[in-house]
Amino acid sequence: MKTDRKLVWSGIIFLMMGIAMLSGCTGSGEKRSLTVAGSTTVQPIAASAAEEFMKKNPDVIISVQGGGSGTGIKMVAEGSADIGDSSRELKDTEKTEHPDLKPYAIAADGIAVVVHPSNSLGDLTKQQVRDIFAGKIKNFKEVGGPDREIMVIIREEGSGTRSTFEELVMKKGKVANAADALQKPSNGAVKAAVAGNENAIGYIGLGYVDETVKALKIDGVAPSIATIKSGDYPISRKLYMITKGEATGLKKEFIDFVLSDEGQQIVEKAGFIRVT
């Protein structure tokens, strides 16, 4: 019996190895090529868009790389990438150093701060949010809410939502958790935890907000697609593709594709908000 089972398993493993070996790559002929590099937040959008774009234009080959917004901007300014991805606006220093850089907003991104629906708290300032997530404010009554101790719920290290939240709210370099904060592995898990815990406060992407949790106004502005698009909601940002000078040729074709209805559907599928 025992040997039989081992035999079967070994067979399965060999089969899988065989399949792995057979699935190799094939070479390519003469092609127009485009290099896209930069923000890891934009990377999934750029990668899916590139995939679709290459399906439609078999003569085009697009390579999408990460590296971070700063790297992307630097690479496009120096000409080592055709398009730079950035999850922030150009800094003043970058604008003066490279005045010919042209950013195209391709998506918007906003994070809602949520509490249990029974929480009477409705409005926080950005500073209060910062203090709560840093563990300085420990009870909702300190910010005009009910007398409940606060349980902070955050995302795990490496999460894009977490790094966006830290960048936009906590200011760079400051870690967004008191040591007691719970870490949940997904937007859905944070929402479920907040929905089930009347002491909890957490943050999730706008797309995940529903009636099981209550999204707070920040600095008096409620999070919505409209307020994020307009930039009025404070915990929001736009994602950019940047070219050196006006986008032309293949660069323009690709950015136009991302801004087209089909491209914007990819943006939505990746969990962001469309801009056109």
Binding site: G158, S159, D180, L182, N197, A200
Partner: protein, 302 residues
Amino acid sequence: MVKGVSINSENVVRGALLLFAMTAVLILSLIFVFLLREGLPLFAKVSPIDFIFGTRWEPSKGVFGAFNFIAGSILVTAGGLIIAIPLGLSCAIFLSEVAPRWARNMVRPAIELLAGIPSIVYAAIAVAVLIPFVQYDLGNLIRGEVFRVGEGIFAVSLTLAIMVLPIIISVSLDSMESVPRAFKEGSFALGSTQWQTIRRITLPTALPGIVAGSILGMGRLVGETIVVILVYGNAKHITSTLFGAKSTGETLTAAILLEMSYVPVGSTWHSALFSLGIILLITVFILSLISNYLLSKSRVKL
């Protein structure tokens, strides 16, 4: 098939089987080599002492102290066993020494069924039922107001205990049932009561098997991932209370699973996660060696 060939083909089959059997060993050693290759580069940047005893884990700053995770793994494993061993042992004693045949016939299949339930099911039930119960009901009962959170060492220990109970019961039961009848009959003949026989004869004879079962369970708990991710809270501190926000923590397995999808391959962070894996593998390896040793000892005795 021609008769004369069958001897040769038998050899071929034997050789093939040997090859397949060796692949299991080969894969195990490949896993170990791979873990070492991926994990060891960490120690060029972080000293092993800082890695094992450091309590700060901030990958973005290049600080990797795994002590919180190690402590978390030890605590949830201990918590699960503290609940499961007395419960499992009493259940095994009842089934093997006291229970009438019909009760045994009913309970045994149920226990085996329990062992087959995937841990995500236990985790889901804990999230839906146990966590709110601990936060609201136990909070009001113990503290007079709700706890800040229901996740934590209490909920996770209870869930893990239920999960590991079938292992402990069935291994203990097996080793108690294989205590020779003559031992017990001799004890009864000398005028011992049933309880005296259980305590002085059956339990000591079956002890190595019982310990081996517990260690087997311990191995399962150390490696358990989904339950601890969903029920332990993944807070980056060391558990210091039984309930409330300070009772949460994070284990080695949880840290690996939560962060693995984000790490750039080849980074220090990447090898730090693999080093957590090395700690886990070594722990489970040692536990299973001890368990095998004790099981073989209990067989020799019979």
